[in-house]
């Protein structure tokens, strides 16, 4: 063995030779310590890094997306070789350190290289625990720890066949998902009866299991592995109950063990890991240790956030600090499987004196549980909607008193502060509501204030820049959404947005906007086309995506696309509102709220003839007939049609009503003919399909009796013309309109209305009302398109009127005539 020492430090006339720092382990904790150290004391050490893996430092967390094919290795490299060079660090990859000689202060590596140190940092991470069953060392059995493991899995996946993943925890499930995406038949074996039982309770575990099974991953719980079967290679896994599962690949993901061999051999104090004090120093004061290989106050860790906190302290101590101390961490977990949102933190086993607050939304697949004890959050499990995870976690860590918000705690921080139709939560408001001290990025411990400050002071305008400057969202990426919201909040219009938003639903990874762009760009003209070209994961979508696709196609191809009634919610299919007892309500249109003796008589006759139990005046200035039996609907419509009445679309994601006051015709304050204008607006806009319902109103003077300033578009007449107000709604979260523009003539009101409706139709996402749409794109954007650009406005209005030329057929008349969808209203058969 050749003995070899560091080249002598370059002679420097003023400074003493630099101290020598050796780092063993080129992983996440070790290199993070160096980054922190270089920021504090760039010149203090001559640094040498040994890494057993042949690669520069990469983001281990992101191995899961690499396995799933969502990222390449290059994309997860944290520091390339140029970084080491630029910082004068000597990097020795593919060379494992085998021994530490504490007396002489040297380390010796596999290659025989020996390097002397003044300070040594051990950051050797951990190793997958391989359960000691026969066959565990057969080829084809891998752990899930490093890039080599991922490469082995990808090779196996390329050959197809069956994979068995032992262990249904975080790592095992991420491996299972990746292998499934890569085309293998995957079975997960889990000893316990709940997946991720350390992070999830039974309900969330069941949801997760169901989701994974829906993706075609088989899950066996209570499965205790007895043996891995195979001659030259693995061929099956046998369970204690005798069941045998054929396997071409076996992934062991049953846990990790701190990799403390080197420390132990060197005689450092070790327990479950290399023992360190609050200064991250081992039993030898010259040697520090960080990462998964350490035991601190009896605890070991397996997530990056605590390691990064350790790295900060270690770096400070190496830089000469004497005060900083690591005192342990509370951790939270997120699962990184695209499309599955799972968050867990703290202790949620519940029990005596604990109070459970649970929220379920079956339709959205949301489950939230917060465990409270003595008015403080003890733990939280979120499934399906994890955006408030950071908020709970912050309160958990801070021990915040939750009594003041106890009643709405489960709805998250933006409850009551947000807006939006149908209770849609607003993530922007949620982030806006957080205090500056709230932690956004759990991995790197970056709080809101730091991010906002970096954005403003350094002029950052994209996610990548924020990552580069603050490290927020640079590790596991779960907080990406919140960072984007912060960019949007801080920069307003100056933020162009990022490519990746939430997928439309579980059937696809594409966002609403991506799907819409593809419909236009690829000229997709039917729902099956969209699903085929955009690789939907389900044969025919679900109740979330089908109505949305139907709308997008209808909007993009007016006159060409044939509406798909099977993709419409029942109300829009039968043109009436289903009630809780399965009967329907029928609302005929009353233009601008006007009616007549003839209409009222016809309504009265229909009520008598069909024994309609309830007649009510709606908030939209028309009459609602409640309790109509489904099979009576066509006949009811025929009678109403005969008196000249048409559908009021009170059921539609489309124009509902145009509410008016009496205006100058009768009212002593009236400045314009608000009723007449309302009728014109309703005649122009009725029958349109929009992303969500649209309500208009016209008030004859600023007294605003028609409540026009909480409508999607409201006109307030004044002496000199008309004020147009946009983006308001009533509903759960009332939002008052913003003033768009003031115009002088009715013709301008009509043109603006058409253009505004079309802009909303083209830009808003399905089920997004004008209020959240406006908040998302900004009033300035709408002004730019409509007010500053007269040609664009005229073009939008023209597109609106063109599409209206196909949509203003009374759906009642079509159905009353018996030519459309007759089958909707009659039973197939009567038996018995």
């Amino acid at each position: 063995m050749s003995t070899h020492t560091n080249p002598p430090p370059p002679a420097h006339p003023l400074k003493a030779p630099r101290e020598r720092l050796v780092v063993v382990g080129n992983g996440m904790a070790g290199i993070r310590t160096l980054e922190e150290l270089l920021a504090k004391a760039p010149d203090r050490y001559d640094i040498t890094v040994f890494g057993a893996e042949p690669h520069p430092n990469y983001n281990r967390i992101m191995l899961s997306p690499v396995l799933a094919g969502e990222k390449t290795f290059e994309q997860i490299v944290l520091n390339g070789r140029d970084w080491y060079e630029a910082n004068g660090i000597k990097l020795l990859t593919g060379d494992r350190v085998e021994a530490v000689d504490r007396a002489n202060r040297t380390v010796t590596a596999m290659s025989g290289l020996t390097v002397a140190y003044d300070r040594l940092l051990i950051a050797t991470g951990s190793t997958p625990f391989i359960i000691p069953v026969p066959g565990a060392t057969l080829p084809g059995v891998v752990g899930f720890r490093d890039l080599a493991d991922v490469e082995t899995m990808l090779e196996a996946a390329a050959r197809g066949g069956r994979a068995v993943v032992i262990g249904g925890g975080l790592l095992g499930l991420e491996a299972a998902n990746g292998l499934k995406v890569k085309g293998m038949d995957v079975t997960v074996l889990h000893l316990m009866d709940t997946l991720m039982e350390r992070q999830l309770d039974r309900s969330a575990g069941a949801l997760l299991r169901h989701e994974l099974e829906g993706r075609g991953i088989a899950v066996l719980t209570g499965a205790d592995t007895a043996e891995i079967v195979g001659n030259e290679r693995v061929s099956a896994v046998r369970l204690k109950n005798g069941q045998e599962l054929p396997a071409d690949l076996v992934v062991m993901a049953v846990g990790i063990r701190p990799n403390m061999a080197l420390g132990k051999a060197a005689g450092l104090a070790c327990g479950r890991g290399i023992q360190v004090d609050d200064a991250m120093t081992t039993s030898d004061p010259a040697i520090l240790s960080v990462g998964e290989c350490v035991e601190h106050r009896g605890q070991t860790y397996g997530l990056v956030a605590p390691l990064f906190e350790m790295a900060k302290v270690a770096a400070d101590r190496l830089a000469g600090g004497v005060e900083s101390a690591y005192t342990g961490s509370v951790t939270s977990t997120k699962l990184k499987v695209t499309g599955v949102d799972v968050f867990s933190a703290g202790d949620f086993t519940g029990g005596k004196d604990c109070e459970d607050i649970v929220f379920r939304d079956a339709a959205r697949g949301v489950y939230k549980r917060v465990v409270v004890k003595e008015n403080r959050i003890l733990g939280a499990v979120l499934y399906g909607d994890t955006k408030d995870g950071g908020w709970y976690f912050q309160m958990l860590k801070d021990g915040t008193e939750v009594a003041p918000v106890r009643d709405t705690l489960i709805f998250g921080p933006n409850f009551g502060g947000g807006f939006g139709g149908e209770g849609a939560a607003n993530p922007k408001a949620a982030v806006a509501a957080l205090p500056d001290s709230a932690e956004i990025c759990g991995c790197n411990g970056v709080c809101k204030g730091t991010i906002v400050k970096a954005i403003t002071e350094k002029g950052l305008s994209s996610l990548d820049e924020v990552r580069a400057h603050t490290k927020a969202s640079a590790s596991c990426g779960s907080c990406t959404g919140q960072v984007e919201q912060l960019l949007a909040l801080t920069l307003g219009d100056g933020y162009a947005g990022e490519a990746k938003a939430k997928p439309m639903c579980k059937c696809t990874d594409r966002t609403h906007d991506e799907v819409r762009r593809a419909i236009t760009a690829l000229e997709l003209k039917s729902i099956p086309d969209v699903m085929q070209r955009l690789e939907w994961r389900t044969p025919d979508g679900c109740h979330h995506c089908r109505p949305a696709l139907n709308y997008y196609l209808l909007c993009e191809w007016p006159g060409e696309y044939k509406d798909d009634s099977r993709s419409r919610y029942i109300n829009e299919r039968v043109h009436a509102n289903i009630q809780k007892d399965g009967t329907y309500s029928v609302v005929p249109r009353m233009w601008g709220g006007l009616t007549s003796a003839k209409e009222l008589r016809a309504i009265a006759d229909v009520v008598d003839k069909f024994a309609i139990p309830t007649v009510k005046v709606t908030g939209g200035q028309r009459i609602d007939l409640f309790g109509v039996k489904k099979e009576d609907l066509p006949a009811v419509w025929a009678d109403l049609n005969a008196a000249g009445m048409v559908s009021g679309h009170a059921y539609a994601k489309g124009l509902r009503t145009v509410k008016t006051c009496v205006g100058s015709e009768w009212c002593r304050f009236g400045t314009q003919d608000s009723t007449g204008l309302g009728v014109k607006l309703e005649r122009m806009t009725w029958g349109t399909w929009t992303p969500h319902k649209v309500k208009l109103a016209v008030s004859g003077c600023p007294r605003n009796c028609a409540e026009a300033t909480i409508k999607d578009l409201g006109v307030v007449c004044v002496d000199s013309g008309y004020e147009l107000h946009v983006g308001g709604n009533g509903g759960m979260h009332v939002r008052a309109c913003d003033l768009l523009v003031k115009v002088e003539t009715e013709a301008e009101v009509l043109e603006y209305t058409g253009a505004y409706m079309q802009l909303y139709r083209e830009e808003a996402r399905y089920l997004e009302r004008t209020a959240p749409w406006l908040e998302r794109v900004g009033l300035d954007h709408i002004k730019r398109r409509l007010v500053d650009d007269p040609e664009g406005r005229a073009a939008l209005n023209a597109r609106f009127l063109f599409s209206q030329s196909f949509s203003q057929d009374d759906p009642w008349a079509e159905r009353a005539s018996g030519s459309v969808d007759r089958h909707e209203f009659a039973p197939l058969a009567q038996v018995g």
């Binding site: 309900s203 069941a206 949801l207 169901h210 379920r360 079956a362 339709a363 697949g365 489950y367 389900t538 044969p539 025919d540 979508g541 679900c542 109740h543 089908r546 109505p547 009634s565 099977r566 993709s567 419409r568 919610y569 029942i570 109300n571 039968v574 289903i578 809780k580 399965g582 089958h823 039973p827 197939l828 058969a829 009567q830 038996v831 018995g832």
Partner: protein, 118 residues
């Protein structure tokens, strides 16, 4: 085929819209017949296990239907609510012979409610 069940013909597959449903009136209540995008036919009691919503009016996707009242998703083959909801719509054997739909009404299996049944 199964000899122990007596089958009643109720119509043809073509009478049920694809990705849709039709109702058969019986003394014991309505039975909803569903036809999936791949032309499989299923029969469930037309009562959602949640609060009795008319499943026949829901959106059919895959071998599931979403109830129109509160969006529970019901598996057409078993009548079971898809997790995390719990409950089961009654279901009825059904078969297709030469394009005609036949129900085995006598073998109807009643459901069990989740919450607020009826």
């Amino acid at each position: 085929m199964d000899q122990s069940i007596s089958w009643i013909t109720v119509g043809s597959v073509e009478d049920i819209p694809r990705q849709g449903s039709r109702v058969v009136r019986t003394e014991g209540g309505d039975i909803a017949l569903f036809r999936t995008v791949t032309d499989e036919v299923y029969a469930l009691e037309d009562r959602c296990p949640h609060a009795g919503g008319p499943l026949s009016q829901g959106i059919v996707h895959g071998a599931r239907v979403t109830c129109p009242l509160h969006n529970w998703v019901i598996d057409l083959a078993s009548g079971e609510a898809v997790g995390p909801d719990e409950g089961c719509a009654g279901h009825c054997p059904v078969r297709v012979v030469d394009g005609t739909v036949q129900l085995g009404l006598a073998a109807f299996r009643p459901g069990r409610g989740g919450c607020g049944h009826g």
